[in-house]
């Protein structure tokens, strides 16, 4: 069993440890909260929007490729939908914006991805420029081929039938070169051979030199035709070149690369999220264990505290009982003088009576020897100074004195049941009578005691304790009166306050209690009496006793006008709580 001090120290240590544990738990909870809040990569449907944007970008890129080829193969005669760069940049910007809004992607990853996307954007700008050039080039190409096809017959007719040309010597050459040039165009379109392109240019140069010698009308027509053949060739070459460049721009690979980069970042996030979840579970278990530990510790501490508490209570009760007893002994001590005096008085009285009786009886014995064989009459007795009436009276008086002594002893016996702590039904009026009787021996005849008993019902209490209270208060009252004046009055009144309470008023007309002293009268060791005469415990213990019975002591006093102590006590008929009286 631990001593009180050890228990208290242990308890303080436990408090210290608890502070640290609470701090630790707080940190753990904050970590869990952090893990919880750090779980989202994007607000809203960011990931879905990014994936959708990648999908759209792929679609756009594919459509651009198809559109460029459709234009190059004249499958489109309306370029309205070819091509819109904003539908690429808009989506690129959206992806970058969503990435930037996320705090879960580290700066390095984000910047790398952003750079790639911006690079992609630039490539797409180039691609759209290429497609624009293909559009322009193809428009010219189409017009020239259209011109050649529609003007061809007209030119041939002109060359065959124009009168002016009849004298033109190199007409056959011109015709030959024209036919040759056209076939070269066709071959070139079919083979895309740059050598043919150069050959054509040589042919055209020759044709031009011949045409210069032609009459003006046909010259301009031939030259115009030549312009379109050249345009056709050049634009065809340019367009092929552009188409080749277009093919070399691998935007699809670039985009797939960016997408897989993004998916990698996203997966990294998911992995980390898994880690977080593991940590979260781990942390939750730790927190749970710590809470369990704390709760178990608290239960243990509580139990230990209970034991200590019980020990303290028991010790307290013992101390209280000892105090009560000692105060009782003090009270008894005070009584002893009075009681000795009281017993002395009837004893002296009885002994005087008995000495007189002894005298009388001795006389009777001596003259009865004189008057042997003679009847003894009263007269004779009288004559010999023996008064039989006196003897009878004396006997009566002696009996009375002895009765008084025995009565006093019964009272003392009653009052002496100090350690009898059994709860019993108790008539307070009897208790008051007893206490008065006890106190009365200190009382001189000039004290008037008025009893105003209302015949209150029995209460359930520890009678010896209540008796002690009554004795305390009554003794105090009597002492107060006697210290103040010669003739005093003590009024003892019992009243049934209500169905559950009775009230006992003990009023004196002594000096009263001053306003300074009044608040302190129930304090332990407070006394106004001379040192050695009072313990200072009387009222304090009385207060405790009444309190433990569930009652109250009230004081009403004005200085110089006496004091009234009112004791309120519950009737407590068959109340099971009465057991608590043990714990004064």
């Amino acid at each position: 069993m631990l001593t009180f001090k050890e228990s208290a120290n242990n308890y303080l240590k436990i408090l210290e440890v608890k502070k640290i544990v609470y701090g630790f738990v707080f940190v753990l909870l904050a970590t869990i909260l952090f893990i919880f809040t750090a779980k989202v990569i994007f607000k809203g449907s960011g990931h879905d929007r990014i994936i959708a944007s990648f999908y759209d970008l792929k679609q756009v890129d594919m459509r651009w490729n198809v559109d460029a080829l459709s234009i190059a193969s004249s499958l489109k005669n309306n370029y309205d939908s070819v091509v819109s760069l904003p539908e690429v940049t808009r989506r690129n910007d959206l992806i970058i914006q969503i990435l930037n809004e996320s705090s879960e992607i580290n700066k390095e990853d984000r910047e790398r991805l952003e750079n790639k996307i911006n690079y992609y954007k630039n490539i797409m700008v180039k691609k759209s420029d290429l497609i624009e050039r293909i559009k322009s080039s193809h428009a010219v190409l189409i017009n020239s081929s259209r011109f050649i096809s529609s003007f061809n017959k007209e030119l041939i007719f002109l060359l065959d039938h124009d009168n002016e040309l009849r004298n033109f010597k190199e007409l056959v050459e011109v015709k030959y070169i024209l036919y040759n040039a056209l076939s070269l165009v066709v071959s070139f379109i079919a083979s895309k051979d740059d050598a043919l392109h150069e050959e054509l240019h040589e042919l055209i140069d020759r044709l031009n030199s011949y045409a210069d010698k032609m009459p003006l009308n046909s010259q301009s027509k031939v030259k115009n035709f030549v312009v379109h053949i050249l345009l056709l060739m050049d634009q065809y070459k340019l367009r092929n070149q552009l188409l080749n460049e277009l093919q070399l721009i691998k935007t699809d690979y670039l985009l797939s690369g960016i997408e897989s980069d993004y998916v990698m970042i996203y997966n990294k996030f998911l992995d980390r999220n898994d880690d977080y979840r593991t940590i979260l579970i781990f942390y939750s278990i730790i927190v749970f264990l710590i809470f369990s530990y704390i709760i178990i510790g608290m239960i243990k501490n509580y139990k230990r505290l209970n034991v200590v508490n019980m020990e303290l209570k028991v010790a307290h009760n013992e101390a209280q009982l000892k105090l009560i007893h000692s105060s009782k002994m003090t009270a008894l001590g005070e009584m002893v003088a009075g009681i000795a005096h009281e017993i002395n008085t009837p004893l002296a009285y009885v002994s005087a009576i008995f000495s007189v009786l002894n005298e009388q009886i001795t006389k009777i014995v001596s003259f009865s020897k004189e008057y042997e064989n003679q009847p003894i009459s009263v007269k004779i007795l009288k004559k010999n100074d023996v008064d039989l009436d006196d003897i009878l009276t004396l006997l009566e008086d002696g009996k009375y004195g002895i009765n008084q002594i025995s009565e006093l002893i019964v009272t003392m016996k009653n009052f002496g049941r100090i350690d009898q702590l059994e709860v019993d039904d108790f008539l307070v009026e009897d208790g008051l009578d007893n206490a008065l009787l006890m106190a009365n021996y200190t009382v001189k005849d000039n004290l008037v005691i008025k009893k105003e008993y209302a015949g209150v019902p029995k209460i359930r209490c520890i009678p010896s304790h209540i008796n002690q209270v009554f004795l305390n208060i009554i003794t105090n009252a009597i002492q107060a009166i006697l210290a103040y004046k010669k003739n005093g009055q003590l009024i003892i009144k019992t009243v049934k306050q209500d169905e559950s309470m009775i009230r006992i008023d003990i009023s004196d007309d002594g000096p009263g209690i001053s306003q300074e002293v009044l608040p302190k009268i129930f304090d332990p060791f407070f006394t106004t009496k001379e040192i050695g005469k009072g313990t200072g415990m009387g009222l304090s213990i009385s207060y405790k006793i009444i309190e433990s019975h569930g009652g109250r002591i009230l004081v009403d006093s004005n200085e110089g006008q006496g004091a009234t102590f009112s004791i309120l006590l519950p009737i407590n008929k068959n109340d099971s709580k009465s057991a608590t009286f043990f714990q004064v």
Binding site: S74, N78, D80, P86, S136, I142, S149, S220, H228
Partner: protein, 314 residues
């Protein structure tokens, strides 16, 4: 015979492309939020968009003048003349890029650029200025969740611009099946338009406005401008943006919608009449010697492209 066969193959090259009409009619409705259109309209006519309260969008893009200003150039808020002829705001929503050199990919870019460079009122300043006007701020708050800001102010104006369309031209009616809406001459003109290859660049819903082309296909690069004796910076066209040799003298092909009303013509507004413009196109773009009558027919066809603008705000 060989040649003829080859030519046949070239012809068949064309055959597929001609199955569908290369020009599509302008839609009757754009399906816009009318509140935004109305708000955009008030801004379109608001002179606070320019620095000294002198110009609104409508100063140069006059609705009564087919969305342009009827002059070669326009006077900017700073007093200087614009470099380029004012393009029509009508049907601009169908263009693939904006400005003659196609520098803006979107209408928003076009708006921001014009604010900064023509109006002298960058969007930030404009926002500050309009924030003082409680009526406008409230109007934006009511229509846009975000209230008045860069995006919403551009959007409102763009919504109005998108509403500026001219459907129901006689040619569109013809495309939509009303074969009587064109006269024979106009129809012949359309066929010549296709036959001579104008259609190669002027096609789509805006009959142009969906691709770039070099000004001066025929002859040496820039021959058209060199003929005048000097080449101005503006004549370099798209080169000014890209600085690529192949982009010299390249312009956005302009729309031919309402072309009869948008004289003077070309990026420098240098050509006063449609006939002259058609002549130049034949000479420098097509390299074809067409008959005068044929060109006249084509001009007649071009005049059938004038549509009808109907404001629908309620």
């Amino acid at each position: 015979m060989k040649v003829l066969l080859c030519l046949l193959s070239l012809l068949s090259y064309q055959a597929l492309a001609n199955e569908v009409e290369p020009i599509t009619p302008i839609p009757i409705k754009m399906g816009l939020d009318k509140r935004k259109v109305k708000l955009g309209k008030s801004l379109f006519f608001d002179t606070r968009l320019s620095k000294n309260d002198t110009h609104s969008c409508a100063s140069c893009h006059q609705l009564s003048k087919a969305g342009t200003n009827g002059s070669q150039f326009a006077q900017k808020p700073n007093g200087a003349l614009t470099e380029m002829n004012v393009p029509s705001v009508f049907n601009s929503a169908f263009n693939f890029r904006f400005f003659w050199d196609g520098r803006a990919y979107t209408m928003e870019d076009q708006f921001l650029y014009t604010q900064r460079h023509e109006m002298n009122m960058p969007i930030e300043d404009l926002i500050n200025r309009l924030h003082a006007d409680k009526k406008i701020v409230d109007a934006f708050k009511e229509i846009y969740v975000d209230g008045l800001n860069n995006k919403t102010i551009a959007d409102a104006i763009i919504q109005y611009q998108k509403s500026l369309i001219t459907p129901n031209s006689r040619f569109d009616l013809y495309l939509m099946g009303n074969k009587n809406s064109l006269t024979n001459d106009e129809l012949k003109g359309y066929q010549l338009f296709k036959k001579y290859g104008c259609i190669s660049c002027h096609h789509g819903v805006n009959i142009g406005g969906n691709m770039f082309q070099i000004f001066g296909v025929i002859g040496d690069r820039g021959a058209y401008f060199k003929r005048k004796g000097f080449v101005l910076n503006r004549d370099l066209g798209r080169f000014n943006i890209t600085h690529k040799e192949w982009d010299k003298f390249v312009f956005k092909v302009p729309s031919l919608r309402n072309v009869a009303l948008t004289a003077p013509y070309f990026h420098d507004g240098s050509i006063a009449t449609l006939d002259q413009a058609v002549d130049i196109m034949f000479d420098y773009q097509l390299g074809v010697a067409a008959l005068k009558q044929e060109k006249e027919l084509i001009v007649k066809f071009l005049k059938s492209l004038t549509g009808v603008y109907k404001e629908e705000l309620e």
